[in-house]
């Protein structure tokens, strides 16, 4: 529980830093182009990568805060308290499944030495954020399934 909270705080810091850097890069590019007559080469590509990073971390933060949209109209069909825990267990399994394919996605990207043009950066180390976000979501749902009280508390983080 403590570990999960620490994890979410770390994720929040990474996401906020990524957005701060995105903003600064875009502003620096505009400033450099309009006032120094020179584009900041690769600023846009870097800003996109940073915002993808923030967005993917946001996905798992949203899992922790239970912020994902969830249609509730069918909740009454199985109106038992254990359904919540079962649901979390299934979510954990599904996210773990997607994490598995996300790892495969990164491995493929590495095999094909996929890169970001202009900044000439090898892409796969950045793409690790995709399996990370999926796996981190899976872990959170798994903890919720084991310990519904944790879900209550983390939702307020």
């Amino acid at each position: 529980m403590k570990i999960l909270r620490l994890l979410m705080q770390t994720e929040a810091i990474v996401a906020a830093l990524a957005y701060a850097a995105t903003t600064l890069l875009l502003l620096a590019d505009v400033f450099s182009r309009e006032f120094l007559s020179r584009s900041l080469w690769g600023a846009q590509q870097s800003a996109i990568l940073l915002s993808i990073l923030a967005g993917m971390i946001g996905l798992t933060l949203a899992t922790g805060r239970q912020a994902h949209f969830r249609p509730e109209f069918a909740d009454g069909i199985l109106a038992f308290s254990w359904v919540d825990r079962l649901g979390d267990l299934i979510s954990a399994i599904l996210f773990a499944g997607f994490a598995y394919f996300a790892v495969e996605f990164v491995v493929e990207s590495r095999n094909f030495s996929d890169r970001v043009p202009v900044i000439n950066l090898t892409l796969w180390p950045v793409q690790i954020v995709v399996p990370y976000a999926m796996a981190s979501s899976a872990i959170k749902h798994f903890v919720f399934a084991l310990n519904p009280a944790a879900k209550e508390q983390l939702g307020r983080t």
């Binding site: 007559s37 584009s39 890169r115 043009p117 202009v118």
Partner: protein, 310 residues
């Protein structure tokens, strides 16, 4: 019966789309329907980068892309977009269709692609809002749309222009708002998407002639029979004719907008010399910056150029 899916961002009614469809038709006829090529154009499967990535991984079988996304497989490929790479049009055509497989083939294979033929993009021209760029100093201090390649960036810097890298679809709005004042674009493509309506001064600078690629995913290629591989040679056979069509269409379109009263400026020898002088030594600089792979790529290009004559 085998069906291969070919992806391109080119509109199906453009010369590129029509060529792809005609190759598909010829292959269908030749193979008696045994081998079918389904052309998915109009960027329906995403931008050029996405298409190229899908081709590398075998998600689409055949890709038709310009030189721009090829820097994904190696930044050194940017050498092909450097200004005035070829001495004459004939030399460029000869290098593309007789030597390119030796020059670029290995790089493509490393990325999981087997080249089928090379694709003419046409010559780069300069679209400007206010005045033509008779000599390249006219672009000095101006905001200029360039492609997101290291060679375009280096050239813009040489000209003293503020090179703003952007995709082709962002170019027209950027010209409209004044985010850029001029744009380097392939002439045929630029006119086809209507760039001249917002930036009517067309300087026929012909300063670069990028060559694109038509390639099949190695994963798909391995599954084909020898007979099927044979049928695919229609791509290679019709490549040079497609190149001639593109160059001819570009000239015809320029004449057409000129006839409609648009200021199309053709450069005299002196002006062309000034344009060429502005890029002197740039290629060597760029190659040094890009590293040993680029050096050897340029060596191969120079050998091919010598072989083709001027």
């Amino acid at each position: 019966e085998t069906t291969l899916r070919a992806a391109t961002v080119a509109p199906m009614n453009s010369p590129w789309g029509q060529w792809a469809q005609s190759v598909a038709d010829q292959i269908a006829e030749k193979s008696g329907g045994e081998l079918k090529i389904e052309v998915i154009g109009d960027a329906q499967l995403g931008d050029e980068q996405t298409i190229l990535r899908q081709g590398m991984k075998g998600r689409v079988d055949i890709v038709m892309v310009s030189n721009i996304p090829l820097s994904l497989i190696g930044q050194e490929v940017d050498v092909f977009s450097t200004p005035y790479l070829f001495d004459t049009v004939e030399q460029g055509t000869c290098v593309a269709y007789n030597h390119m497989s030796d020059i670029l083939g290995p790089n493509l294979l490393e990325a999981g692609l087997v080249p089928l033929t090379w694709m003419e993009i046409g010559h780069y021209v300069t679209f400007s809002k206010e005045a033509p760029a008779l000599t390249p100093d006219a672009l000095s201090g101006k905001k200029l749309r360039v492609a997101a390649t290291t060679s375009d960036e280096a050239f813009a810097r040489r000209l003293g222009a503020v090179g703003v890298p952007m995709g082709t679809s962002d170019t027209i709005p950027a010209l409209q708002t004044g985010n850029v004042e001029s744009a380097f674009l392939p002439g045929l493509f630029g006119i086809a998407i209507g760039t001249h309506k917002v930036a009517p001064h067309i300087t026929v600078s012909d300063h670069a002639r990028p060559i694109g690629t038509v390639a099949i995913s190695e994963r798909s290629y391995k599954k084909l029979s020898d007979q099927e591989k044979e049928w695919l040679k229609v791509f290679e056979e019709t490549g040079p004719a497609m190149s001639a069509t593109i160059l001819g269409t570009q000239e015809a379109l320029l004449k057409k907008v000129e006839g409609a009263g648009l200021p199309v400026v053709r450069l005299n020898d002196e002006q062309i010399a000034a344009w060429k002088a502005s890029s002197e030594g740039l290629r060597e600089e760029l190659v040094e910056q890009l590293g040993p792979k680029a050096v050897s790529l340029l060596e191969k290009i120079e050998t091919a150029k010598a072989d083709c004559g001027s």
